[in-house]
Amino acid sequence: METATPIFVRNEMLGPKEPPTSQRGVVKWFRENLFSTPLNSILTVIGVAFVYLVLKTVVPWVWNGVWTASSLSECRQIIAETLGPDSHAACWAMIAERWKQFIYGFYPMDSYWRPTLAFALMFVALAPVLYFGIRHINVRMVGAVGVLLMIALWGLGTDGAHIGLALVLMAALTAVAWVAPKKLVWLTLLYPAIGFFLLWGGSVWGPVGALLGFVILAFVWLGLQRQVGVVVAGGIALITAAVWWLSVQTHVTGALHAAMPIGLPPVRSDQFGGFLLAFVIGVTAIAASLPIGILLALGRRSDMFLIKTMSVGFIEFVRGVPLITMLFVASLLLQYFLPPQTNFDLILRVIILVTLFSAAYIAEVIRGGLAALPRGQYEAADALGLDYWQAQRLIIMPQALKISIPGIVSSFIGLFKDTTLVALVGLADPLQGITKIARADINWKGIYWEPYLFVGLIFFACCFSMSRYSMYLERKLKRDHR
């Protein structure tokens, strides 16, 4: 050891050494996280004991479950025979028998390929949005979805023609994802019409006509926005499109259908149910509420008195009313306000109100993101001569949305789980509707853990994926790394 005298010169430099054994690796982790103080050590032991007790009951119950039986009593008999008279185990046979109903509701069995294909195409449509057209992720995602779709269709006993059709389609889409991943956005734009056509069936010209309305909207808007400004052009375009949808479209599509009757067998909305219904409502509302929420958030921060007041009024009103009230409005009251004889589909009405409900929450989340941006960002955008919409699109929104990702995803998760509330207006959601129907079956009377666990597990898988995706997105968009 060198002595500490006022004059000190080091003659030999010290090399690096490893930290002491108790300060590295597994030992360090255990010491720091589980046994740092006596109290912590006791709590760790109690905690481990508790987890052990829970798992000791639950794991055998799940693991020893019976998968083949035709009724609950048969289930119990098998359990008693194999495990002893007083033992308990799950009766998964009920799920094995009824799972199709949990997924598809009362959708015609010979058409199960349609919602399945629509579900697969949804991921293909989402791929370019979720992964910004990064080629290798898109190809992998589309390819994997294709393979899973084939397995699912085969498992559902779909006929060869439709499996072949799906195979060709998915192969083509994988090829597109390989050659030009950004071109998949076209599928994203067309997806609402494709999804609608696959799910509800009917004449192909209906969705085509509805899409044409959007094409008209886009052209009128692009043509006019230079002359009259973005907002006014948007208004005129919307009115033109509405005229097309409400009064012209039916004649055109009727004539087209008479000339070329292409279509799928129609499926009524009351045949929808289970997770099919939850996904239709959830995904549509999620996709529609984000843009509406952005506009509401901008409206709330606008300098224009009328726009601001209307946005604030809408947001506060919608947030102040329980979702269930809105669902009752959708199922009962809305009919009074519409012209007589309008047959406005119940699912569509529910989707509209769930969308508006969620848009109000999204608007507030995004407003938080906007408020977090420094004023300097707006000033820099202004000083460079960007107009309002350019500044919003290029500078403000990318940053505000990034800040709001956790809140937005929370809202989406909440919205997806809230789709189960549609049971209250008579739609067969997976949790209340289908489970009740399944439990009313005389064979399965008295079963309650299994269907709820099954439904809960699927909901958890969906929500957990959303949450993981949002974490991926946050990491991906992180820019302050050094």
Partner: protein
Amino acid sequence: MSEAITRQIDRSHMQVSDEVAIQITSMNKWYGAFHVLRDINMTVNRGERIVICGPSGSGKSTLIRCINRLEEHQSGKIVVDGTELTSDLKNIDKVRSEVGMVFQHFNLFPHLTILENCTLAPIWVRKTPKREAEEVAMHFLSKVKIPEQAHKYPGQLSGGQQQRVAIARSLCMKPRIMLFDEPTSALDPEMIKEVLDTMIELAEEGMTMLCVTHEMGFAQAVANRVIFMDQGQIVEQNEPKEFFNNPQSDRTKLFLSQILGH
């Protein structure tokens, strides 16, 4: 006094022409009931390098922010490059694309790379093709001596580098007038020099510049006119040598003694 200016300044291109770049007549501005700018009259000719100084709260930042209408004035007239600033959005956007502005806190766009920061406005406002905009951006990034940072994000750069990017970003719009709002106030001392050097180079090329700054060394070396403001009004203006050596008003004397006299 700042000792940052050490180099010889090339004055061959620093020529003040007769053409008027900015004309401000009897301009007043209020924040609510508070009268921030009082009866401002000012003419800036093309090629002038004006330093505006004064105690904090004297309205100097507000004045240059009125010139590209980041702040609205309530009475009087501001004409920039022949375009009068009114509530007409077309005129405002026109003036803003002709006038570059550099902020105290840089205000770079953190979600875009340095290159994207520089090409954004040329592409979307001037409708320049992307390749051409990138070439121009690289030219100006080389000029501020950081072309190698083009693909980094602002968060990865030092304060001085960020401010030089901000200058390059403004220059990419090929502005005819540059406004500087305390460009060195948020910087560490060793970074002030690199930013001032960039500004001096700009002055040497004959750019019309209005700088709000406390860098009196810069004012003496580069400015052709110094404006002193207090309580929202122009108290004194003169050429730098006279202004510093022979101030006329008591307020100016007090201010100069506070910032220079140690």
